[in-house]
């Protein structure tokens, strides 16, 4: 046999096993398979792990790792500082190589961790309950829209145009499947907040829900209470959050949100080119049986000892099949673990400290950049750690960023890519991972380029 480190069978064992089965060859085990291949797959020969690592390390080096870059770009994925303990603990095989906790008695590690994760998310969002996670923020948003349509039995999904553009795209895809209508609601060109007049116009008796970012894609913090007041009683308000922002911003659960979803990546997860993400999903207690995804509950064992188990599984596809609340049959437990360890290390004070640093740095940068000639503000609504500026110069944002890259700076995102009418507009982001010196350097460099 070839020397494969993962397949233990010797020739002798294979022969013994075939004899036990009562066949003469491996081929006989495939007798019922038509159209069998008569040649090898056209893929490379096996590798050893050392040559493979060398090869793929080389491939990885064709990428610019942002490890040593100052990153001023967010837009859905954020570079934060991640304590060493997060990855070190999470990479334990007992977490990494376990499956869905179907056998609760030998999955208490996973189950308790997810129960604690659910608790932390309810704390952050101010909602009654949270599930044990979804794929990513975008698909969690789409699932929330489907849930709202199920609850209200209505077909119109209103979505703020200031929600992350890729989330809107995913929402449209899911709603095409579910035969729901996606109706955009404008943002105010002055403040960047939701346009209340447009909202009033778009609301109808068919409205199931309104979805908006909190903060929105431009970094602006929406006034949820005022928005909720404009919605008819039965229309559900879905807030798409950044969990770090909730270290400072009021919990959406206190402001009238019915479902809170979001991308949990900023909580201790590496950027990984945007995947895997961590879909957050929280809602009100009364909707618990309408909620998609895994839920972990606390209970007692035969001896009266506290334990944890997956609950309300009758909502899920493996029992209810086509009548399930969603087809989702997994979650991103591993990413939830990274987030849980992160939140445990940061704690109540840490999450606030991080949020405060993010906010202060971005506002400091904002003021500093506005002093540069040719740079002007775009919106005047309150923002958290992202903001939009217009750069009216002969250089495009791409050209500016090109120069920044040479200095190991990932500059702001050019918004023209998503909003064709926002020429020369750039979305800046500042987290605690950029030093004050980096900010000064960026401002100086920008002035120099312009």
């Amino acid at each position: 046999m070839s020397n494969n480190p993962y397949i233990p069978h010797s020739k002798k064992e294979i022969k013994e096993m075939l004899t036990e089965i009562g066949v003469n060859s491996i081929d006989e085990l495939y007798n019922d398979v038509p159209n069998r291949l008569d040649s090898d797959l056209d893929i490379p020969e096996a590798s050893d792990e050392f040559s493979l690592r060398r090869k793929l390390k080389h491939l990885s080096e064709l990428n610019s790792s942002l490890d040593d870059y100052a990153v001023f770009r967010g837009a859905g994925v954020y570079k934060h500082l991640i304590p060493a303990a997060v990855n070190s603990l999470a990479s334990r095989g007992e977490f990494l190589t376990a499956y869905t906790p179907y056998q609760a008695e030998v999955s208490q590690g996973t189950l308790q961790m997810l129960f604690e994760f659910q608790t932390m998310i309810t704390e952050l969002t101010g909602m009654d309950i949270a599930n044990s996670s979804m794929y990513d923020g975008a698909s969690a948003t789409a699932e929330a829209a489907l849930m709202a349509a199920r609850i209200t039995k209505k077909e119109d999904v209103l979505v703020a145009s200031s929600l992350h553009p890729e989330y809107i795209e995913v929402l449209k895809t899911y709603c095409f499947g579910a035969d729901l209508n996606v109706i955009p609601v404008k943002y105010s060109a002055d403040s960047g907040n939701l346009d209340f007049e447009d909202l009033k116009e778009k609301i109808s008796e068919n409205t199931a829900t309104l979805i908006l970012g909190y903060p929105n894609f431009f970094g602006i913090v929406e006034h949820l209470v005022k928005i909720k007041e404009l919605l008819p009683k039965k229309v559900l308000l879905i807030a798409v959050i950044n969990p770090i922002a909730l270290g400072l911003l009021e919990a959406p659960g206190k402001l009238g949100a019915d479902i809170v979803v979001g991308e949990g990546q900023p909580l201790g997860n590496p950027m990984n080119l945007g995947g895997p993400g961590l879909g957050l999903f929280a809602t009100r207690e009364k909707y618990i049986r309408k909620t998609p995804g895994r839920l972990i509950g606390q209970t007692k064992d035969l001896d009266g000892k506290t334990g944890y188990a997956m609950i309300l599984q009758t909502r899920e596809q493996h029992i209810r099949r086509e009548k399930a609340t969603s087809n989702i049959c997994s979650n991103h437990s591993f990413n939830a673990l990274l987030a849980s360890i992160y939140m445990s290390l940061m704690g109540k004070n840490g999450i606030k400290e991080i949020a405060t640093r993010c906010l202060k740095k971005s506002h400091y940068l904002y003021e500093k950049l506005l002093k540069i000639e040719g740079i002007s503000p775009v919106f005047d609504g309150p923002f958290f750690h992202e903001f939009v500026l217009r750069i009216n110069k002969d250089k495009t944002i791409e050209e500016i960023n090109e120069k920044m890259l040479e200095e190991k700076i990932l500059g702001p995102l050019s918004l023209e890519r998503f909003f064709p009418n926002m020429e020369n507009c750039a979305l800046f982001c500042t987290t605690e991972a950029v030093n004050n010196d980096d900010i000064t350097f960026l401002a100086g460099k920008l002035e120099e380029i312009l």
């Binding site: 064992e13 590798s47 949270a130 035969d179 493996h318 009548k323 906010l359 890259l405």
Partner: protein, 484 residues
Amino acid sequence: MTIFEKSRKNRTGYSLPDEDSLEVQIEKAIPEELLRSKDPSLPESSETEVVRHYNNLSKKNFSVDSGFYPLGSCTMKYNPRINESIASLPGFTELHPYQPEKTFKGALELMYDLKKLLSEITGMKSFTLQPAAGAHGELTGMLIIKKYFRSKGEKRNKVIIPDSAHGTNPASAKMVGFDVVEIKSNDNGIVDLEDLKKQIDEDVAGIMLTNPNTLGLFEKDICKITEIAHEKGALMYYDGANLNAIMGKVKPGDMGFDIIHLNLHKTFSTPHGMGGPGSGPVGVAEFLKDYLPVPIVDLDNEKGYYLKWNLNNSIGRVRSFFGNFNVLVKAYSYILMMGKDGLRLASEMAVLNANYLRKKLSTMIPTAFPGICKHEAVFDGSVLVDDYNVKTIDLAKKLLDYNVHPPTIYFPLIVNEALMIEPSETESKENIDNYISIIKEILVEARNDPEKLKKAPYTTPVRRLDEVTASRSPVVSYRQETEG
């Protein structure tokens, strides 16, 4: 004890760079009514305590790294460490999805090459790597089918699914608005062709099949089935949950399938991570390639590897960014490590292991259907009820006391007291022999004292849990009495 109960006021487990505080007033930046009125009660612990807490939690988990984990239809094969080592290279982890394309050419090359490899293994023309999991892949596939018939102006509203299928199949079809039509399995555990012919008509958009099916049996009439489907204009969807039996032996494309999803976390050894993240790439035949989600990674003579955004009939995005990239790296690493011979060997040894286990165990518990199986074997546990006065669940729970993992139980739904066992190729003959001996021992125990077995397990971190109360009055978060 939960981490919340261990919490002590003002303890922290982090340290941040010591910087001058910037002169920004939060209250000026954000109106007061938008600021938090009460801090979130996250636990407050030192790093020492956090490390101990999670370390101790990990010890309460059974995993592939702990022992034999023959969970049917889940392909719990060993997860090679080299995959982890490669996927954690900073050139793969520290990438922002919106950094300029030219600064992640290596990642693009990896994704392009992975697509090509998956195409070669499955015989499909083109792949999307965007779906995050198997069920997500199914959803993507169903959306493609819906869009395809919409664009042809056909209103097909039904999808045919066998009664042995995974629950995700009907759930995915329903999410896209299709009505589900169930077809029966025949006495040999495969699709009943006569029932299929009766059910199929011009309203059928597609047939979802798993092959080998969830009974571990190969649909030997597969070419006939695809012919029947295609004659009526319906598309064939392949649920790739069980690809582990056929790599390098036969390609779904050659069986006549039009759309396929794969589970990289099963067949391609990426770790299950307690339930996710997985990855569910979707492959399609030539005529459907413009329906895939965007963006697609492509190769151009001048541009090199690049993201292609314009596909005429694309269903749009099914998630943000480019898929579970970190998982893709691990699967890519696995395929290259195994090579063409390794992948075929994996399939062959998976099938050998399953048949060996089937043969040996069937002297105690009969198989649900006769004949050679593929990567997994399904047993009818009625004998446990009839001869031993216990149930499949009792046997499963007792296995936990022996530090091995039970099979998938009570699935497929069409088998009484079902036990579905998938050893996978990474397990040795003696591990299987040991498992058989344990079951033998348990059956003796069942014979002697069935009541005792009904209360197993006895040695696990907790014993059987009261799921009734947990579902009647759900407690889904830790309620903190006072400020922690």
